[in-house]
C-alpha cells in the first residue's frame, strides 16, 4: 500500500495530487483522490503507476521492464496508457476543490432532514447505548403529536427549494410511541401535497414491539427500516436485554425475520454493534446470514475509552481482518448466486455523491438536526442532551447561539482539518463524523483517528468488492 503525492506548481500556489495504490483480495487498485476515479491494474501497470512522476520516462520504462520481466515496448505501451488517463483527468489529477468550500459556506442554510426523538424511553436496557437507556441523560419522555406536527412544519418552513425531505423516527425506542409516529406520518402526507414536497421516512427499532400492525404500516410508509440485532445470541444478549436482565434475541429474531420478509424489495438493514467483546464480528455476520437476513450493517461501538466495551488498539487488527473476511464472503456468495448487502461496501462509482456533498458530509448541524420529545434542536442524535450543543427549538427556530453552532458545523469539512490533508479517503468520509470527533478530540473539527483507520480499511475492502463485480461482469 502506498500513497503517491505530487505537487504541481500552478502560478503562486501549488496544487495537490494524490494517488492511493493498494492491493486487496488479489486486486491491484489505484484511487485518484481528486477525481475519485478508481482503476484496477495488472502487476506491470501497478509498478509503472508507483514510479510515475519520480523519474524520467526512459528510466521508468527500464525499471518496469526489469522488475516485471516485460519488454521495453510493453513497458512503454503501459506508460502510454497511464498518460491517456492523466490527460483525461482521471489519474494524477489536480485537486481544485478547496475553493468550493467557501462557495458552500455562502449558501443560505436549509434544513432537509430531521431525526425525531419520539421516545426518550426504552424497553431494553443496553449497557453500551450512547443514549443512556434512551433517556439521553435526561428524564423519560414521549413526543406529543403537537410537537411532532410542529417539527414537520418547521422542516417544511426551513427547507427552501428542497423537494426531498427526510424524517427518521428514533429514540429510545420509537415504537413505544407508535400511535404518534403514525399520526405524524399522516400529517406529513397531508402537508407534502400542499407544499410540493416529498417525505421519506425511516424507522429505527429494537424489535421488541414489532407486530403485524407495525409491519404493515412500515411497508406502506417507511422507505427504510433499521432493525437492531448484534448477531450471535450470546453477543446480542450480553448487552441487548430488558431491565429485568432477559436477553432480547429469542424475542426479536422471529419478529425481524417476518419484518424483513415483508419488506420485499424495500430497504431494510439488520444493524449490529460490535464491541471489545466481539471484535471477531464476522461470526455475527454469519449468524445474521444464517437467519436469512441479506441486508446488513455492523458498526463499531460508540463508547468512552475507559468503558469496558470500548475497542482497544489490539482489537483494531482483529476488526480490520474481519472487514477483509467480510469482503471475501460477499464476493464468494455473489458468485454462488446468493448475494447479500453490507451497508459500508455499497459504493456506487457511477452515481455516487457529487463534490459538494463530499465536501459537506452528512449535514449534521446544518441541513440535518435532531428534535427532542419537547422540541429542542441539536446538531444530530449523538449530541442530544449535550447542553453546549443545544441550537434552539422548533417553536422559536434556531437561536442566536444555535446559529454560531451551525456555523461551527458548517466549517467542518474534508478540507478544514489539517489531519485530513494527506488522507486519500477524505472525499469518501468528508472529514469524518463530528460526534466521533467531539467524543475523541473534544472538538467537532478534530478527528477520531481510530475511526479513520477503520474507515480506510473498509473503503479499500469496498473498492476490492467493487472491482470483483466489474471484472466478473466483463469476463
Amino acid at each position: 500500500m502506498t500513497d503517491i503525492r505530487l505537487r504541481r506548481p500552478t502560478g503562486r500556489k501549488s496544487t495537490e495530487i494524490m494517488v492511493h495504490l493498494f492491493k486487496r483480495l488479489g486486486y491491484n487498485i489505484a484511487v485518484d483522490t481528486a477525481s475519485a476515479s478508481v482503476h484496477v491494474l495488472d502487476d506491470v501497470a501497478y509498478e509503472a503507476v508507483s514510479l510515475y512522476g519520480k523519474m524520467s520516462d526512459e528510466e521508468l520504462i527500464v525499471a518496469v521492464a526489469a522488475k516485471c520481466g516485460v519488454t521495453a515496448a510493453d513497458a512503454a505501451e503501459c506508460l502510454s496508457n497511464i498518460r491517456e488517463l492523466v490527460d483525461a483527468g482521471t489519474l494524477f489529477s489536480e485537486d481544485r476543490f478547496r475553493p468550493d468550500v467557501s462557495v458552500l459556506a455562502k449558501r443560505d442554510p436549509v434544513v432537509k432532514a430531521l431525526c425525531l426523538h419520539v421516545a426518550h424511553t426504552c424497553n431494553l436496557d443496553c449497557d453500551y447505548c450512547f443514549a443512556s437507556q434512551g433517556k439521553y441523560h435526561g428524564e423519560r419522555a414521549l413526543m406529543s403529536l403537537d410537537v411532532g406536527k410542529r417539527a414537520i412544519d418547521f422542516l417544511i418552513e426551513n427547507s427552501g427549494s428542497r423537494h426531498n425531505l427526510e424524517v427518521d423516527f428514533f429514540g429510545g425506542e420509537p415504537l413505544m410511541n407508535f400511535g404518534v409516529v403514525k399520526d405524524i406520518v399522516a400529517y406529513a402526507r397531508e402537508r407534502e401535497k400542499e407544499c410540493g414536497k416529498h417525505f421519506r421516512f425511516t424507522l429505527t427499532t429494537n424489535g421488541m414491539l414489532v407486530d403485524d400492525d407495525v409491519i404493515e404500516f412500515s411497508d406502506r410508509e417507511m422507505d427504510n427500516v433499521v432493525m437492531s440485532l448484534d448477531g450471535r445470541k450470546e453477543v446480542n444478549d450480553r448487552f441487548r436485554k430488558t431491565a429485568g436482565g432477559v436477553g432480547s434475541f429469542d424475542i426479536i429474531v422471529p419478529k425481524f425475520q417476518k419484518f424483513a420478509e415483508a419488506r420485499g424489495e424495500k430497504e431494510y438493514y439488520i444493524r449490529g454493534t460490535f464491541t471489545h467483546y466481539n471484535p471477531d464480528f464476522m461470526k455475527d455476520i454469519d449468524t445474521m446470514l444464517g437467519l436469512g437476513f441479506t441486508r446488513l450493517s455492523m458498526e463499531p461501538v460508540v463508547a468512552s475509552p475507559d468503558s469496558p466495551c470500548a475497542l482497544t488498539e489490539d482489537d483494531k487488527l482483529v476488526v480490520m481482518e474481519q472487514y477483509e473476511l467480510l469482503a471475501k464472503r460477499m464476493i464468494e456468495m455473489r458468485r454462488k448466486g446468493t448475494p447479500f448487502v453490507f451497508y459500508h461496501y455499497m459504493l456506487d462509482l457511477e452515481h455516487g455523491p457529487c463534490i459538494y456533498k463530499r465536501i459537506s458530509g452528512c449535514g449534521s448541524g446544518t441541513e440535518y438536526m435532531a428534535v427532542t420529545p419537547t422540541g429542542e434542536l441539536y446538531p444530530c442524535h449523538q449530541f442530544v442532551g449535550e447542553e453546549r450543543f443545544r441550537m434552539g427549538d422548533i417553536f422559536g427556530g434556531v437561536s442566536e447561539e444555535g446559529k454560531k453552532i451551525r456555523d461551527e458545523f458548517r466549517r467542518c469539512n474534508a478540507y478544514s482539518k489539517p489531519e485530513c490533508d494527506g488522507c486519500w479517503a477524505r472525499l469518501y468520509c468528508s472529514g469524518g463524523c463530528a460526534a466521533n470527533a467531539w467524543h475523541a478530540a473534544g472538538d467537532v473539527n478534530g478527528v477520531y483517528s481510530y475511526g479513520c483507520d477503520l474507515f480506510r480499511c473498509r473503503m479499500e475492502c469496498a473498492l476490492a468488492v467493487k472491482a470483483s463485480e466489474v471484472l466478473d461482469e466483463a469476463e
Partner: protein, 43 residues
Amino acid sequence: MKRIISLNLNTSRKDGGCGECQTSCQSACKTSVANQKCEKSAK
C-alpha cells in the same frame, strides 16, 4: 493487452450541488458519504 481497467468528480462540480440526495444519517449506521447516491445522476 489491457493493463488498466477503469471502474467509473470534476464532472460533478459542473452538474452537482442540488442538495436533493438522501441525508446519510437516514440510512443504516447512525454512528459513523461513501454510500450515497446522486439522485439526479442515477435518473
